[in-house]
Symmetry: C2
Subunit: 344 residues, 2 copies
Amino acid sequence: MSTAAKKWYQLNGTDADVVLSTRVRLARNLSGYPFPCVMNDEQRAKVNALVRDAVENGGSVIGSRFACIDLSEKSREELVSLVERHLISPEFAGKPAGRMLMLLDDESVSLMLCEEDHLRLQVLEPGLALDKAYDMADKLDTLLSERLNFAASEKLGYLTACPTNLGTAMRASVMVHLPALERTGALRSLSSSIAKLGLTIRGMYGEGSGSRGAVYQISNQETLGVTEKSTIEKLSGIISQLIKLERDAREKLMANPAEQDRVWRALGVLRTARMISSEEFIELYSQLRLGVASGQIKGVTLDALSELSAKVQPATMLVDAGTALTPAQRDARRAEMIRAMLGE
Amino acid sequence: MSTAAKKWYQLNGTDADVVLSTRVRLARNLSGYPFPCVMNDEQRAKVNALVRDAVENGGSVIGSRFACIDLSEKSREELVSLVERHLISPEFAGKPAGRMLMLLDDESVSLMLCEEDHLRLQVLEPGLALDKAYDMADKLDTLLSERLNFAASEKLGYLTACPTNLGTAMRASVMVHLPALERTGALRSLSSSIAKLGLTIRGMYGEGSGSRGAVYQISNQETLGVTEKSTIEKLSGIISQLIKLERDAREKLMANPAEQDRVWRALGVLRTARMISSEEFIELYSQLRLGVASGQIKGVTLDALSELSAKVQPATMLVDAGTALTPAQRDARRAEMIRAMLGE
């Protein structure tokens, strides 16, 4: 694994002013093995070995770019950092014993082995890139299926541990920044429209969490009786509309001097503060990102912001620091990193 | 009047980290004329002419550096601006008809004619400069007394319209910035000690006003049965102690990272905000001044801060703008001026 490779989240993609990232996740299970929730250690080891072999020895160049990570060898901070970077689920991090993660060098593809399903394949891309992410997931799925026998039925499609994933077993999601629609109150009614279309909208850190920093995840709800392509198209259509609505709302919002003032102040505080908590950072970051994305604030790029956001998450910061930090030290270090990146 | 002369408030004096300015004011009345509250227009014009003649034709070089300003020719904004700069009292500005102000080119000396008394001579100096300000006031008093016959009695000293000024008719005051003593709560008990010593402590804009931006005016209460010299010495002694206490309190306060954070954020907001009200400016300015004076913030000088503070006062800004401004425009202009002076 090349450590020099730029990580996917250091890049900005299409429509980066509104769309932070795109994710496509496939769930697969191997025929002849019980689902992870009921398998024994021996069965788990066997499945892990089979999947790892399929990745590494599938005869594809990309297979050699994966690292195989034994989660039981990771510290608590490293595990939380993987969650913060959306590479593993909190549940997967919670019980690391015997659990394997396969991770592409740029961290754009991760495979959780024996999480809820035998295989959870996830592709992450910066910006809006549903087709690209799906194509990559599909390519890897095809590659793996040459050496693995995936459980599927003619009627139900891919079989999964949870019935809500039956069928395509695909979850496509887009992380969007909607500060203007949130601030004007328009998001509330939009959310119920989105839900009626069979999509889900929720806060930043997955199910059950509220919105923080105006970041929302929009994903497909349905997997049964639909195709992957139609799911991607439907989601694409909604996201395109949301992008337009958010841009229009921003234009109106940022014509107001008081709102301009607000985003500039966020920059001012971020550039000078000596202590910033994670919660405050998320709020100020959201305002600053709005200021930069709307063209109000120049001299700061969305690229730099995306990288900053990834770097100052609590556990990721601890891992980088390589030492234990008190909350106050962490807040001071966060402020220091922000100043180093934004200039004082 | 040379417009190139630097104004007194653009300079910092001794102990400028705590002391903003020093003021010595003498009240005088001419024998044979009723006090201003009961004089007629003719008498007022006569007194004005006598005082003006004494200033301009006293044979002193300084006399030629005074401008004689007829307040009835000034706009409302210009009058308020004079009040903001502590050159005239709000009462004097309130009834400008027939009222004259004599003003030294650097604005360090002003003479209000026929305010409460026939003559209110005021000397302003940056920083702590009680001796210097008193010497100047005394010199001018001597100069004027050569051509004017001041009302005085052997027993009561100088006679004044208000009996609280009888005697020396001198009010010496020092404007101090006490953010640390205020924040730690120590100022409350100090205030009562100061009052017991026959001194008065009050908020920024004279009697009856609360503190704003941790700026307090400390002045002598007594004028009867005391000498000018002993009054100045007593005030000097108290101020020296207050300076020491404030500096110690700052040192302790600024060792706290959360307090460091606070002053830095004030700089951040001032450097980036697009709208700042007068009230918010006073608060942020106070924090920034504390940061600069305590050495926490470098790259900004107390000189620059003093000049900034003078420039962004509401009426002074209006006069500079030369045009009417809505409150929102004024707040935007204030923010713009602050950014221009502090850098973005």
